[in-house]
């Protein structure tokens, strides 16, 4: 079990309110991702749940028990830090076994659990090394191992992959997902990388300045962003947001269209423009197109490699069915 409910939880550092009162429910077994720009309070929210910070008001409820006054170690949560936070003077074996040793479990039982965790994380060869003698990926696995052996109600990850290189990050992402499929334990995962959020989450929580902008599954957020912030934040490359008379024509203050929903056509498209930059990735081509009458440069994504270069004239045809409309208050219309 591991159902986490936040009720009107808020946090002030001194006079500054970093997190205004917010409500949030994370169901048992869910993989929830907190995503948002740097400094929006993701880590703070996670630390509030872990108990490393005291909330200024509101209640945190885990499995029906109010834990607001419960010390961190008694909340049954395990946390994996961005900097790994391994104990540098202990071997990998001691690191992984540390929480069990603190529970005064007997040594034979600790050894069994440590070995099981090490096997599932491919760490058996490194058990007698110190953290300083491991690579970044191995260190992160040790940190995860230390979290697993406690058999927590929920795992909390604070940007666990951001110190790893891109290739390793993709691999570790898969490992964490497999772990989730195997253990079926609630996981809360903080990241500012929206690709990580989209690929991993059952539920994404988009935060900005401590406020929850939207909660939903990755595709819900992709298909129906609740406001301009979510529209701009979810999706890569970013959604094109167009203001002015064109938006007014559709009865909105701002209209949004994702780059992958604009087709490049031979002729007779809705918009005619000039390519300013074209990025050829092989599988995709990203075009940045200047269209007369638009303030913004449009981003267009087309599948495959299409032969256009800087200065070429292109004709664009947006799929009007995929248009997002936003009102003057920035909220979605319809």
């Amino acid at each position: 079990m591991g159902r986490i409910v936040l009720q009107k939880v808020s946090k002030k550092f001194g006079e500054i309110e970093i997190i205004p009162p917010l409500d949030l429910t994370i169901e048992d077994g869910e993989f929830a991702v907190f995503v948002g720009p740097s400094g929006c309070g993701k880590s703070t929210l996670l630390r509030l749940i872990a108990g490393l910070e005291d909330n200024t008001s509101g209640d945190i409820i885990i499995d029906g028990n109010t834990v607001t006054q419960v010390p961190p170690s008694k909340r049954g949560l395990a946390m994996v830090f961005q900097s790994y936070a391994l104990y540098p003077h202990m071997t990998v074996r001691k690191n992984i076994g540390f929480p069990l040793r603190m529970e005064k479990m007997d040594q034979a039982e600790i050894d069994v659990k440590v070995n099981t965790a090490a096997t599932s994380l491919n760490l058996t060869d490194y058990l007698d090394r110190k953290p300083g003698q491991l690579s970044g990926g191995q260190r992160q696995r040790v940190a995860i191992g230390r979290a697993i052996v406690r058999e927590p109600l929920a795992f909390l990850f604070d940007e666990p992959l951001s110190n790893l290189d891109a290739a390793l990050r993709v691999g570790m992402r898969m490992e964490i997902l497999e772990l989730h499929n195997k253990l079926k334990t609630t996981m809360i995962y903080v990241t500012h990388d929206q690709v990580e959020a989209m690929t991993m989450a059952d539920k994404i929580v988009v935060l900005q300045a401590g406020v929850i902008e939207q909660v939903g599954s990755p595709l819900e957020l992709y298909r129906a962003p609740r406001n301009l912030f979510v529209a701009g934040f979810i999706g890569s490359p970013k959604m094109n947001l167009i203001t002015g008379p064109l938006a007014a024509k559709h009865g909105a203050t701002t209209i949004g269209i994702r780059p992958e929903h604009i087709d490049v056509v031979a002729s007779g498209g809705t918009w005619e423009g000039t390519v300013s930059v074209s990025e050829h990735l092989g599988s995709d081509t990203f075009l940045h197109v200047k269209v007369a009458g638009f303030e913004q440069v449009l981003t267009v994504r087309s599948i495959g490699d299409i032969a256009v270069k800087h200065g070429d004239k292109v004709s664009l045809s947006p799929r009007l069915g995929e248009l997002h409309k936003f009102g003057a208050d920035g909220l979605r219309i319809g």
Binding site: L52, F81, A85, H89, F98, M102
Partner: protein, 312 residues
């Protein structure tokens, strides 16, 4: 190879100078320790100047080895050095942890804490033995007298009077006596050197990783476990530094011993050598060589012990 010769040539003067600097005193001590060499001798005037013809072999070493006062000096040296190390490390860790938190007036407290370190050793000894520890005129004398007066007063009080009349008179301790003078030295040097330990340990505490602490909190580590498994291993190296440096300094304590008791009862090795030098240079040199050996043994022993206990 030619390109190596010139740098080596250019380094030579410095190296030669350094060698002379270290080797000349050491070899002179070694030489003196193997000959008969005394400053005043009416029977054997030939012994009063250093000469190879006065060769005595290991005679000086044997002579010193068989002196009870030599073993007493070694015993005292070890007692003083080890006690000071033990006390300064414990006090240093405790104080460093205390003042590492934020509290109002932290800056001033830190400056005050460091100040004993800037007192000259001789002044430190004079202050302690005369103003603090003197059984009559010092703080100790005053305090004991005050306590006795208070007990005397309470004896006449109703109800509790009968209880206090069972109490004996408090006797002040004379720290210049044979049995106690080493303790006076330990106290004053500990007072003076604790700030050194605090200073080094505090800087090290500030570099401790806070996320490790938080991880340990989540892992259910109590405050003591956090200290034992994270802070103490983190401090192992700075503690080793504190111990090494202090061991070097305190094996050669002299001023404090001279001022507290003129060596009465608590001669350490340097003081013992100092007394021998008044006449028997040969024996003094032999003791000096023993002192060098002792210092090395102490250093190796301390390092091993620290490495074992703290690094797990």
């Amino acid at each position: 190879m030619a390109n190596r010769t010139i740098p080596r040539l250019l380094q030579t003067p410095a190296i030669v100078l350094l060698l002379f600097w270290m080797l000349v005193p050491l070899s002179m001590t070694l030489f003196f320790s193997f000959i008969r060499y005394v400053l005043a001798s009416t029977n054997r005037p030939e012994w009063t100047s250093p000469s190879i013809s006065n060769w005595r072999g290991f005679g000086n070493y044997q002579y010193v080895w068989n002196q009870d006062s030599f073993w007493l000096a070694i015993h005292n040296s070890l007692l003083i050095v080890c006690s000071i190390l033990f006390l300064t490390v414990i006090l240093g860790v405790a104080i460093a942890i205390l003042i590492n938190r934020t509290f109002p007036g932290r800056g001033i407290v830190r400056v005050l804490l460091i100040s004993p370190f800037f007192v000259m050793p001789a002044v430190n000894a004079v202050l302690w033995i005369n103003m603090l520890l003197d059984p009559v005129l010092g703080l100790q004398g005053t305090a004991v007298a005050g306590a006795n007066d208070l007990v005397a007063l309470l004896r006449d009080a109703p109800v509790v009077g009968s209880f206090f009349s069972l109490w004996p008179q408090f006797e002040p301790i004379s720290f210049r006596a044979t049995q106690t003078s080493a303790y006076a030295v330990i106290m004053m040097v500990t007072w003076q050197w604790t700030p050194f330990a605090v200073l080094i340990l505090m800087t090290s505490l500030q570099s401790e990783d806070q996320q490790q602490k938080e991880a340990a909190i989540l892992d259910g580590a109590s405050r003591w476990s956090q200290f034992r498994f994270l802070t103490l291993p983190h401090l192992a190296r700075p503690i080793a530094i504190v111990v090494m440096i202090q061991a070097i300094f305190h094996l050669s304590l002299y001023a404090e011993i001279e001022i507290v008791s003129r060596g009465n009862g608590n001669k350490n090795l340097p003081y013992y050598i100092g007394e021998l030098v008044n006449n028997n240079i040969g024996a003094a040199s032999a003791t000096g060589i023993f002192a060098v050996i002792l210092a090395n043994i102490v250093a190796i022993f301390l390092l091993r012990m620290l490495g074992k206990t703290l690094m797990e």
